[in-house]
């Protein structure tokens, strides 16, 4: 799947330097991998690879497990001094530990000591840390903001990882191995092996109902989710239906209530028994949680007011899809508006297909 980028990424300087010194490109490759895996054994190799003849520095390398710094120890100073995928190896390691725990206990919010990222909170620092911790040079990254890959946030994050991790980026859902997202899950069904990374603002679904952190934790621990139903009760009483349209709470693996981040409730059913791995990162709140592949995710509801995904009833004006989630777009000063697919890749794919003369199948993906 990998197609090496033409541009040399920042971290590549280190790698190249190491390779020069040892004269073994293979070892250098290992070094980078070692850094990724954070394996002590490989790290020792990394130290050797750097072979600075500086025992003290080599020691440091072994301790820190910072494989890429090995290059530095070898006095082949990297151009920027940036670590692979920006985040330092210790930082990645602690994120990965949290991720493992999160996968083991689906829906449970694992605390982690998140790092500062070169972007403000609210712009996806949690998601970026998760992506930085799992991404490798062979990955193909897609970033979604509001369903689209060409909005500001998506473009910046793509650029960030192209620069710091040298990965290939794509807009195609089917071509991506890692998809970082805010607001949407792609319309194209996800496959086994793909990883979704969500940028989460408020990880705890109980937050606004039970502001006391300790009490909220106790409620999670004892699976006391009555207050979430109070919220639904209130919705029905006020609006005649469950009006929460995004960040709709769901019960994961019949145990933990989870906030699926600000995706529309339209997307909630896509989480249920999904073949992909879903990772959620909240940077400001410093929480990580996960939905492993093929895990049940059930949106909360009442028996007499069952969960309904959406109520659009319209078709996309561009591709004609009646099943995808639509955005309302203002097209003129007189209030003219059209409804188009929020998932731009899905929409474009359908239009391409139609243009190819293939028979358009409704709701096909």
């Amino acid at each position: 799947m990998s197609e090496k980028k033409k541009r040399t990424p920042a971290w590549d300087g280190n790698k190249a330097g190491t390779a020069e010194k040892t004269g073994k490109a293979e070892t250098a490759e290992k070094v980078v991998k070692a850094g990724k895996a954070g394996k002590a054994g490989n790290v020792v190799k990394a130290g050797n690879a750097g072979n600075a003849g500086n025992a003290e520095k080599a020691e440091k390398v072994v301790k820190a497990g910072k494989a890429v710094k090995a290059g530095k120890a070898g006095k082949t100073s990297g151009r920027r001094g940036l670590n692979y995928a920006y985040l330092d190896e210790d930082g990645k390691r602690l994120v990965r530990r949290a991720l493992i725990k999160a996968v083991c206990v689906p829906g449970y919010q694992v605390p982690f000591s998140g790092r500062e990222m070169p972007m403000p909170y609210g712009w996806g620092t949690g998601g970026v840390q998760v992506t930085a911790s799992i991404i490798g040079p062979d990955d193909v990254l897609k970033v979604i903001d509001q369903g689209s890959s060409d909005t500001t946030n998506a473009v910046s994050i793509q650029k960030f990882f192209r620069k710091t991790a040298g990965v290939e980026v794509t807009e195609k859902t089917s071509a991506a191995t890692v998809i970082q997202t805010r607001h949407r899950i792609p319309e194209t069904p996800l496959k086994s092996g793909q990883i979704m990374v969500y940028q989460v603002p408020i990880p705890d679904p109980l937050r606004f109902l039970e502001p006391r952190e300790g009490e909220a934790a106790a409620r999670h621990a004892n699976r006391e989710y009555g207050i979430l139903y109070v919220k639904l009760y209130e919705d029905i009483t006020r609006h005649g239906e469950i009006a929460s349209s995004y960040d709709y709470p769901a019960l994961v693996n019949a145990r933990y209530a989870m906030s699926p981040s600000p995706i529309p409730r339209f997307d909630n059913p896509k989480l249920h028994m999904s073949p992909a791995l879903h990772l959620f990162g909240a940077g400001r709140e410093k929480r990580i949680y996960a939905v492993p592949p093929y895990t049940s995710v059930v949106s909360l509801d009442f028996e007499d007011y069952p969960f309904r995904p959406a109520k659009s009833g319209r078709a996309c004006e561009l591709c004609g899809s009646e099943t995808s989630f639509l955005d309302e777009v203002i097209t003129g000063d007189q209030g003219e508006r059209i409804f188009v697919c929020s998932d731009t890749d899905y929409c474009a794919g359908r239009r391409e297909k139609a243009a190819d003369g293939e028979k358009e199948t409704r709701g096909g993906g």
Partner: protein, 268 residues
């Protein structure tokens, strides 16, 4: 007493029995070795001046505050008696959400002021696993009638309620799960006298209708006389006198109780 005759079998065993409840805050001994028993359907009053430890005691009994030492034996619906402080937290929380109620002096502490009154009443049912909106709403409105709240205010938020209405709502919210025991901390504390009388009346009638055991903390001896059958008088964290309410108030044995009683009469 009235209720004893109705429930002769229940009178044989107490609902709760506390032994040697003690609470220290640093050097301060807030509650000092309190023993008490409460029988099903009985209203027990705890009186004493501010700082005598009565609210602390109530917080301990209701599981909100861990005691420094002491035991609280709780007889479950199945008849088994266990130490309330030693059962698993999940079970304790379950009991506190179903079998035990707590009416706070400040309704804001016991209600969700920002969600509708109906949702406030329904919350304990929903927490108990009820998953039908229609039924939750129906049972909320039934309890609205029982505590004499106007049904057309079912969807209003308690922040729009008067003090007396909030207190009624708090009572409905606690009783909707049919608890056997309700703790009340100065339930009529901030209310004017006429509203106070109606709320007290309500507590008395509900207590007898549902065979509810109540521990009522108050500094108001008038409230104690009206509502309670037995009385504990606390001073400096200790129970200094106990007995039938009329006996204690009409013929106090301890000088402190005499003072308490006479100060009420003097003030009235």
């Amino acid at each position: 007493m009235l209720l004893q005759e109705n429930h002769p079998s229940a009178m044989t065993e107490p609902l709760i029995r506390a032994e040697g409840i003690t609470k220290r805050f640093g050097d301060i001994l807030a509650v000092d070795g309190v023993d008490l028993e409460l029988y099903p359907g009985e209203v027990l009053g705890i009186v004493g001046e501010s700082g005598s430890g009565k609210s602390t005691l109530l917080n301990i009994l209701s599981g909100a505050l861990p005691p420094s030492s002491g035991e609280l034996f709780y007889r479950g619906r199945d008849g088994t008696v266990r130490d309330f402080f030693k059962i698993r937290e999940r079970e304790r929380r379950f009991l506190l959400g179903s079998d035990i109620g707590f009416v706070h002096q400040d309704p804001a502490a016991g209600l969700r002021l920002k969600v509708s009154a109906g949702a406030n009443v329904a919350e304990r049912l929903l927490s108990g696993g009820l998953r039908r909106y229609g039924e939750a709403r129906l049972r909320a409105s039934e309890w609205f009638s029982k505590v004499e709240l106007p049904l057309d205010r079912l969807d209003s938020r308690p922040e729009e309620y008067s003090g007396g209405m909030r207190q009624r709502l708090q009572i409905a919210r606690n009783l909707v799960t049919g608890p056997r025991l309700v703790y009340m901390d100065e339930p009529t504390g901030g209310l004017d006298v006429s509203v106070q009388a109606r709320v007290l009346d309500l507590v008395r009638s509900l207590s007898s209708e549902f065979n509810l055991a109540v521990i009522l903390v108050t500094h108001d001896l008038g409230v104690a006389r009206l509502l309670t059958e037995r009385l504990l008088v606390m001073k400096n964290g200790r129970v200094i006198e106990r007995g039938l309410t009329d006996q204690v108030l009409d013929d106090p044995g301890e000088p402190y109780t005499q003072l308490l009683v006479s100060s009420v009469l003097g003030g009235a």
